[in-house]
Symmetry: C2
């Protein structure tokens, strides 16, 4: 097997295992009650279960490999970050935001249910993320748990994902340059990706000043991921993606592809992946999954 | 001064002080950045600042009086619960939910800004609640901080506020009986109110089994508060309330007033307040503010 093929098969096998574990934990956390909240839980299950690449839970596992973090802790942190990711998709798909009918090949939550239920289901997944992190099952050390909460709240709020989404809304009105688009994307998708890697270091009680190379890895794959997304939005297959494509150009938004062109964007993505892997030079086989994920990020077709 | 008059003046003076402190802390937490997120921060400030009775931060202070909790800790916990309360109002006012134009006498966030900004501003206030609680400025003990996070996540999610809101949506389709309306309201408004009182006990490291009477107080004032709200919705003054009234009847929802009638509902509210105060019998003057808040809750005109 070539290096790339073995990397992609490593990602595929671990990703498949993580996807099963994520769905099993969601199934137990979101057991449908026999009362008038049934519809809320069904909407949360529709949004959270049986879909997506589960890239973020996989990243938490990959970073946890470096520090011998227990698989259960990594899974619960992965579920928490997936709750944030999924809630943001549910709200982002609403008519007042991106107005999407299709997500992960299924009707969006407000289409399958209704808008009010979609808003509440997103809000409840948002709470569930912090409830899961704060629970002692996630990690025995309360300091670790509260640091995870703080890091995730920052990564998802005004300084992270939601702040980036706000900049993205403004991008339809303004014409952002490359540094602004880079900052927007580092917030909108990069912050949660960085949290996944940082969470493992928090669980291992690695002090912040010793996380520079890991942060470098996270920043580089976060940007590479977004460049790959922008490329898929232009040259991808909507059937494989399970969602509408070509929306950025239609909305008049600047992206890495509109600013750099397809070829230079692709080149930049590959460069970032090499740079990301260089940050892992000090590590041995325990970083193989992190390396493979970096490669996968620019090679994926959805 | 009569007992009731001195109770109401105690609430008024402490509430005024709390309102100033809450606005000052929001002003510093929500300093507007000079970048494309400006509109997001302005929407959050519009929603969070200069308005409301600040009943929840006041309750945290009142319960903190029992245990000599520092005023700074109580204020930060009060801000966190106010963030959750305010975010829920912003989302609840959206066209897909209650479709309200006016809140606290001002245009609702989606009216003053737009729907997408309102959704994101609510989401960001939601994150800010947990960011504030997790920060070491809130309490020196990480175990206390993480217990606060867990309690607030549960009080605001499917088992608390948002779960109650979902039942409230279903109430338009079904005809709920008194036990179901009671459970709905215990979740929708009672859970956050109970958190305010519980938070002081968590900060004082009172074990859960020793919080029974405090929980009784919280449950009773929570229901009394909702009964008073239902009464104001029927007999209140929209100008004083700063929002539309008479909406429950228009939506065909059962409330305490529709199920009990105005007189019996009023009687039930007074009974709950006496019962709430009886839970405080073991306490001296340090519980005066909690007692005064119980009285205020049924006497208020908005």
């Amino acid at each position: 097997m070539s290096g790339a093929a073995s990397a992609s098969s490593l990602v595929a096998s671990r990703a498949a295992a993580v996807a099963v574990e994520v769905d099993r934990l969601f199934d137990s956390l979101l057991a449908v009650p026999d009362d008038p909240r049934r519809r809320l839980y069904e909407a949360m299950r529709h949004a959270a279960m049986d879909g997506g690449k589960r890239l973020r839970p996989l990243l938490v596992q990959a970073a946890s490999d470096l520090f011998n973090i227990s698989r259960d802790s990594a899974l619960r942190v992965g579920i928490a970050v997936e709750c944030i990711h999924v809630y943001s998709l549910v709200h982002d798909d609403l008519p007042a935001m991106d107005d999407d009918d299709l997500r992960r090949g299924k009707p969006t939550v407000h289409k399958a249910f209704d808008e009010a239920t979609a808003i509440l289901a997103g809000d409840c997944l948002h709470d569930l993320a912090f409830e899961v992190l704060a629970d002692e099952e996630t990690h025995p050390d309360p300091f670790v748990r509260v640091e995870l909460v703080k890091a995730l709240a920052i990564a998802s709020g005004t300084s992270g994902m939601a702040g980036g989404q706000m900049m993205d809304l403004e991008a339809e009105k303004a014409s952002f340059d490359l540094p602004t688009v880079t900052r927007l994307q580092q917030m909108k998708t990069g912050a949660l990706i960085a949290f996944c890697v940082d969470a493992a270091a928090i669980m291992a009680r690695i002090p912040p000043e010793a996380r520079t190379r890991l942060h470098g890895y996270a920043r580089d794959i976060g940007l590479a991921f977004q460049i790959a997304d922008d490329l898929l939005d232009v040259v991808g297959d909507a059937g494989l993606a399970g969602k509408a494509l070509g929306k950025d150009a239609a909305a008049g938004k600047e992206t890495f592809v509109s600013l750099l062109g397809v070829e230079r964007a692709r080149e930049q993505g590959r460069l970032l992946v090499e740079q990301a892997k260089a940050h892992l030079h000090g590590h041995g086989p325990e970083a193989d999954l992190l390396r493979a994920i970096a490669d996968y990020i620019v090679e994926r077709d959805r």
